[in-house]
Each structure stands twice: as structure tokens, then as C-alpha cells.
């Protein structure tokens, strides 16, 4: 098994202020479980590969339930924001933030500093930037300088390169752009079965290939001031067949900022795997929780039996 670089190996704390028994662990850093609310027009929706959306409930109700169940954070993504108005989103953020005392990240359509300011003042703790960061990378630095690195999460949607080596997972057959062909034609291109896999950054909800290598882009956004990376495998997203752990591990082992793995969670085993093999700092999931297939509490209990440090 590949070892993840920040395994703060459980050991007894060097300072014993309490009255704990010798040897009891008190220095654990928990892996985070983050439910994601994909919102559209004030409702939570869920689809496969960002299409075929179906209704999953009221954002306020779901947020309250997750808070009660022990979610470590909450992410709200307005998946229609790039195309539609954001008045509904602001109201939803206010409503969700009112009774939420865990960190809240909001994304979708954040393009300029003013968008970030409005979301943060509506009650978000962090904003997620995706498409706009690719088109105008400077926005990352501007938001970080104004609100601190902790306030900016850069969302990266990545799709595995078709001919690149990797697991047996069926790889999306989407059309690749001319820019991507150029990337392939470069010296590091033409991946074969024997070369390490590569992933391409896609934007606009996965509809637009960018020609950017996901790992290179992740390095760049860290330099620009991103506080965390929300890394979604577009091949796995919505399929509930497991995370692309190779993608997560590749990015998480390179960067010095936390990586939130997203896309593909279908079972507690998948989440254990993305922490252990995928080296993720946090796991994001939606469907697995919305339809009450699994509760956060039962998931965390399972993770603990697997040796994953979680907050219960």
C-alpha cells in the first residue's frame, strides 16, 4: 500500500495535561467527511456526470440533518450558477448558515472578488472557485489576499486521459478538444500503458476540456494561494462505483495543502479506500447520504474500525 505523506502516526501526546491513562491517544487529526449539496434553483439535486438531475430535498433541512449527524463540514455547489441568476443561492446560503456551526463552503459561479465577498458575508466560511480560476487564475490570488488562504478552495474537475494507463475503470469517452491534442503532441505526451496516468482539467460542469494537466494545475493553484483543493473525478462522479484513488493520491502526495476527494462515493468501503490508498484529507459525497443509504454516523463508525481517524 502506498503510504500517505501526512500520516501523523497515532502516538501518545508528549504533553499530558489531562488525567488520561498512559497510552491513550489524544493527538489524532481527523479525516473529514463532507456532505455536498448540489443546488439548483434553491433545491438540492443530484445527477450522473452532472446531468439527469433528480430532486434530493431542501438545502436547509439537509444541512440541519448533516450537522446533527456529525458532518465535519458542508459544501454547497450551485451547479446552475454559471448560467442563471444567483439571488436564490444567496438566500439559500443565509438559510443554511443560520443554524450551522461547522465550516460551510459555497461554490458555483464565483468569478470575481465581489462574488466571494457576497457569499462570505451571507455566511459562507470558504468559497470554491472552479471555471473562473482556470480562465482567470489571478482571481485565486486576489481572494486569498483579501480574505486569507483559508477562505479559498479551488475546485478541480479532472478527467482521465483516454490512452493513459490506469485501473480497469471504464474511462469516459467524451470528445477531446484541439487544445488537448496539442498537450498530447508535446514531449511528455502520448501516454502509453507503461507511463503514469494523466488527467485533464475540464470546466463548465465537465463540458469543456481545457488542455491543462490536472497535477500541474493543482501545483499552480497552490502557488497562487489556494487553501484547499476540491478534486473531482469526472469519470467517477455520480457513478457510486468508487473514487479515482490514483488521481487523489497523485495530487495529495504532491501538494502541501489539503485535498478533498470527490466523485464516486458509493459505499463506506470506497471512503475508507480514498483515505488509505488515495491519501485524501477529506472525502466529499452526496448521493450516499442524501437518500439515507448510509448515515454519517454509521460511516464514521465503520471508518474507525478500519483504522481511519474520524471525529465521532
Amino acid at each position: 500500500m502506498v503510504l500517505c505523506p501526512l500520516s501523523l502516526a497515532p502516538r501518545t501526546s508528549v504533553v499530558q495535561l489531562g488525567t488520561k491513562d498512559e497510552g491513550q491517544r489524544t493527538n489524532l487529526f481527523a479525516k473529514r467527511i463532507i456532505p455536498c449539496l448540489d443546488c439548483k434553483d434553491g433545491r438540492v439535486v443530484k445527477g450522473i456526470h452532472f446531468v439527469n438531475l433528480r430532486d434530493a430535498g431542501d438545502p436547509g433541512d439537509l444541512a440541519e440533518m448533516y450537522n446533527r449527524e456529525g458532518a465535519d463540514e458542508l459544501v454547497m455547489l450551485d451547479i446552475s450558477a454559471s448560467r442563471e441568476g444567483r439571488a436564490t443561492l444567496m438566500e439559500t446560503v443565509r438559510q443554511v448558515a443560520r443554524c450551522l456551526f461547522i465550516p460551510l463552503t459555497v461554490g458555483g459561479g464565483v468569478r470575481v472578488l465581489e462574488d466571494a465577498r457576497r457569499l462570505l458575508s451571507a455566511g459562507a466560511d470558504k468559497v470554491a472557485v472552479n471555471t473562473a480560476a482556470v480562465e482567470t487564475p489571478e482571481v485565486i490570488r486576489v481572494i486569498a489576499e483579501n480574505y486569507g488562504r483559508q477562505a479559498i478552495v479551488v475546485a478541480i474537475d479532472a478527467r482521465r486521459l483516454r490512452n493513459s494507463a490506469g485501473p480497469s475503470r471504464p474511462v469516459a469517452q467524451g470528445p477531446l478538444s484541439g487544445r488537448f491534442d496539442r498537450l498530447r503532441a508535446g514531449s511528455a505526451a502520448l501516454p502509453t500503458e507503461n507511463q503514469p496516468p494523466h488527467w485533464e482539467v475540464v470546466t463548465y460542469g465537465g463540458t469543456k476540456p481545457t488542455g491543462l494537466d490536472a497535477l500541474e494545475w493543482a501545483r499552480r493553484v497552490e502557488e497562487l494561494g489556494a487553501g484547499e483543493i476540491l478534486l473531482t473525478s469526472m469519470d467517477a462522479d455520480g457513478t457510486q462505483t468508487g473514487f479515482d484513488c490514483e488521481l487523489t493520491a497523485t495530487v495529495a502526495r504532491t501538494l502541501h495543502i489539503p485535498v478533498i476527494a470527490s466523485g464516486g462515493a458509493g459505499s463506506p468501503e470506497h471512503i475508507a479506500e480514498v483515505f488509505q490508498r488515495g491519501c485524501a484529507d477529506a472525502a466529499l459525497a452526496a448521493s450516499i447520504f442524501h437518500y439515507e443509504t448510509h448515515t454519517i454516523r454509521s460511516l464514521k463508525q465503520f471508518l474507525r474500525t478500519q483504522g481511519v481517524s474520524v471525529r465521532i
Binding site: 501526512l6 481527523a30 456551526f101 486569507g148 483559508q150 477529506a282
Partner: protein
């Protein structure tokens, strides 16, 4: 009146919201006179140590804060509001902190992921007022790249590569490095303890 000190950079809104949720009221304060009139002061900090000290100086908040410390007015620093109590910080060399605690705030070394973002456990000194009713080993939410060294005033510590001051209790001065307003039930309990002091 409970004052939530606004120096132009902290997350005042979420602290106010948490206090309101606990059934009390507090005011956002950015004027020295209002700070002097307050019965209790909460100082949530966020961002850069240098910008914070500059923000406090520009708003003429340093003198009323020192008066509050000298006069025994209950004070709770949060995150950067804890770091402000030390003499200095590696984040802003040459900028003086409030100097209530000895030492320099230091950047995490030897850990792969900085900032320390997420939930870590507290090791608590028994019988502290601030953590009354909070179980030793409780998880709280952190988000920081710098930490305050452990001094005798530390009533809670956390380990993330280094062991650092998670909580300070010093007569009427309290401070926490984690975010009580983002730490779920445990965090609300800590805030409530301070508000009920």
C-alpha cells in the same frame, strides 16, 4: 454588553451568529469607546498577524485592550486572537504583539500539510472554567499555519506535528486557537462557558 471586536479582518459575523444562537446578544465593536464600555470582549482573529496588529492600532484599540486586561475584564481571543497575546509572530517579523504571553508565534515545521485545517483533539487541563463540561479528547476545528508555544498559561494543548497552545487561561484572559463558532456542539459549549463566566 458583550463586544465582538472588529478590527477589519476577523470572522465577526459567524461569532455573532453563534452567540445569538445561544440566546444572548453581542455587538460588533470597532470603536475604542464601545470597547471600553463592554462587559466582556471577544476577539476573533483571522488572516495575517501584521494586518491584525495594524488594524488594531489604526482603530485605536490597543489602549482599551490593555486597560481591559489590567482591569480584569473577561476576554476571549479566538484563533489569531490567541496569537495576538504573544510577544511576536514569525508571520510578521518586527511587529509587536500584545505581549501578555512570552514567546513568539511560530510556523508549523516538519508537517507535510500546512495550514492545519480540520478537526484535532484537545488535551485538557482538568478543572478549567473555559472547558467545563467538555470531554478530554474532544475534537475541535482548526484553520491556521502558525501556532502559539505552550506556556504555563496553556489550559489545553493540541498536537499537529508540534504540541501547541490550544487554550489559554490566565485570570480573566482566555483564548483558543481553534474556532469555537465552527466546532459544532463542543465549540458552542466553550463559547457558552465564556459567556456565562
Amino acid at each position: 454588553m458583550i463586544a465582538v471586536l472588529d478590527y477589519g479582518g476577523g470572522n465577526v459575523g459567524s461569532v455573532l451568529k453563534a452567540i445569538e444562537y445561544l440566546g444572548l446578544s453581542a455587538e460588533r465593536v470597532d470603536q475604542p469607546a464601545a470597547l471600553r464600555a463592554a462587559e466582556k470582549i471577544i476577539f476573533p482573529g483571522q488572516g495575517h498577524f501584521g494586518a491584525m496588529m495594524k488594524g488594531l492600532a489604526e482603530r485605536a484599540m490597543l489602549a482599551p485592550l490593555r486597560e481591559a486586561f489590567a482591569g480584569g475584564k473577561p476576554f476571549l481571543g479566538i484563533c489569531l486572537g490567541l496569537q495576538a497575546l504573544y510577544e511576536s509572530s514569525e508571520e510578521a517579523p518586527g511587529v509587536a504583539g500584545l505581549g501578555i504571553l512570552p514567546g513568539c508565534v511560530t510556523r508549523f515545521q516538519g508537517v507535510f500539510k500546512v495550514p492545519h485545517v480540520g478537526w484535532s483533539q484537545l488535551v485538557l487541563r482538568p478543572d478549567t472554567k473555559l472547558f467545563h463540561g467538555v470531554a478530554d479528547g474532544s475534537f475541535v476545528y482548526y484553520c491556521h499555519s502558525y501556532y502559539g508555544p505552550v506556556t504555563p498559561e496553556a489550559c489545553a494543548v493540541t498536537e499537529y506535528g508540534q504540541t501547541f497552545a490550544a487554550g489559554i487561561e490566565m485570570k480573566k484572559i482566555w483564548a483558543v486557537q481553534f474556532h469555537p463558532e465552527k466546532s459544532g456542539e463542543v465549540g458552542l459549549k466553550v463559547l457558552k462557558n465564556f459567556l456565562n463566566l
